[in-house]
Symmetry: C2
Subunit: 209 residues, 2 copies
C-alpha cells in the first residue's frame, strides 16, 4: 500500500465490502453511495470520499458496479502479494477463524493449524491440516523450502495458560506478526508485533455508549 490509510477508513471500507458481497449473493449489479450510507447510518459524502480512494467511480443514476468495487477494495486493502498465516489452537475460535471466508478475499491464506490435543491432529478444517504444536518449526521450514514462502503471521487462540509459551515458539519460528486472541499480554522481542484482539473491550465500548 503506497498511501497510509487510517484505521477508521479501513474499517469502513471493509464494511462496504460486506455490503458488496451481499449484493453479489443477491445478483444485484449496482449500488449507490446513498444506499451504502443508509445501511450503515453514516453520511453519503463520507462513503463517496472513502470509495474515491479505490479510484472507483460510479455512474450517474446507477451507482457503483458491485463486483468491480468489491475487487477494488480488496486490492486497496489487501496484501500486495498473497500472505500466509498459521493458527495456533484448533479449538472453537481457531476453527471459526480457519473458516473465515473474508481472509481469502484480502489475500490471507491459512497455511496450517496447530494444537496439542492428539484427537485433533491430522484432521482438516476448511481443507487446512492440524499439526502437533511441536512440529511448528518443521512446518515453517517446509513452507519456506518447498512452498517457497515465509509464513510471518500467526493467529493465537490457545488457552491463556499456554499463550506465552506458544508465543515463544512463534518467535523461534520467525513469525513477525502475532494476532493475539488470548486474554494474555505476551512478552516478545521488539521485532515481533502483537495485535491484541480485545473482544471484551469492544463490547464494553459498544454497550457503554
Amino acid at each position: 500500500m503506497s498511501v497510509p490509510i487510517s484505521g477508521k477508513v479501513i474499517k469502513r471500507l471493509t464494511l462496504y465490502h460486506h455490503i458488496l458481497s451481499d449484493c453479489l449473493l443477491k445478483a444485484k449489479e449496482y449500488i449507490s453511495s446513498q444506499q451504502i450510507a443508509e445501511l450503515l447510518k453514516i453520511d453519503d459524502s463520507q462513503v463517496r470520499k472513502d470509495i474515491a480512494l479505490c479510484a472507483a467511480s460510479g455512474k450517474t443514476n446507477v451507482g457503483y458496479n458491485a463486483p468491480e468495487l468489491k475487487k477494488a477494495i480488496e486490492q486497496l486493502l489487501g496484501f500486495q502479494a498473497q500472505k500466509a498465516a498459521f493458527i495456533l489452537g484448533a479449538g472453537n475460535l481457531g476453527s471459526a477463524l480457519a473458516k473465515h471466508a473474508d481472509f481469502a478475499d484480502y489475500g490471507l491464506d491459512i497455511a496450517a493449524l496447530f494444537d496439542i490435543d492428539p484427537a485433533k491432529i491430522d484432521r482438516l478444517i476448511n481443507g487446512k491440516k492440524i499439526y502437533p504444536l511441536s512440529e511448528l518449526h518443521h512446518v515453517a521450514t517446509h513452507e519456506q523450502l518447498v512452498n517457497k514462502r515465509r509464513v510471518e503471521i500467526a493467529i493465537l487462540t490457545v488457552p491463556a495458560s499456554a499463550a506465552q509459551k506458544s508465543a515463544e515458539l512463534l518467535v523461534q519460528a520467525q513469525i513477525k506478526y502475532i494476532w493475539n486472541f488470548t486474554p494474555t499480554i505476551l512478552s516478545v522481542p521488539d521485532s515481533v508485533r502483537v495485535c491484541n484482539e480485545n473482544l471484551v473491550g469492544n463490547f464494553l465500548e459498544f454497550t457503554n455508549n
Copy 2:
C-alpha cells in the same frame, strides 16, 4: 457509569485487566504501573492516569494490589447490574464466545444459545443450553416472567445467509443491542443498536501499519 470513558481508555483498562488476571494465576500480589507499561509498550504516566479513574492507588515501592485493582476495573467498566445475552448460532464462534471467561467478570451472563441444527438442540455449552431458533421469543418471555430479567443483548454468529432473518427475530424478541459477528450489514429499526465486529478490518489495520 457516571462519567463517560473514551473507547481508547476502555480498551487499555481491559488490557490491564488481562495483566492482573495473569498476576492472580501466578499468585503475584502486587504490580507496578511501570511493569504494566512495559508489557504493553506504552507510557507509564498513561497507565497511572487510566488507573486513577478507578480511584485505586498504589503503594510506594510496591505498586498496586492486583486482586483489588482487578475488581476496581471490573466495577468501573462492568455493568451496574448483571446483564444477560443470547447467542444466536451455536457453531464454532458462538461456542467460543459462550465459553469466554471475561464476560462473567464484567457482569455479562449468557442466558442461552440458539441454533437451527437439530443435532445441537438441548446440548449444553459451558452450562448454557442450546434452544431451537424458533423458540427465541418463548425463551425471552420465560426469562422475563420467571427469571425477572429482560434479555436486551444478542450476539449474532449465524451464517451470513441467515443474518438478516435472525436480526428480525431479535427485533421481535425486543432485543436492544446486537453484537454482529456476521459479515452482513443488518437492517433494523433505529431503536436497535448494532455493533459490527469487524475482525478482518482490525487485522488489516494491524498489518498495514
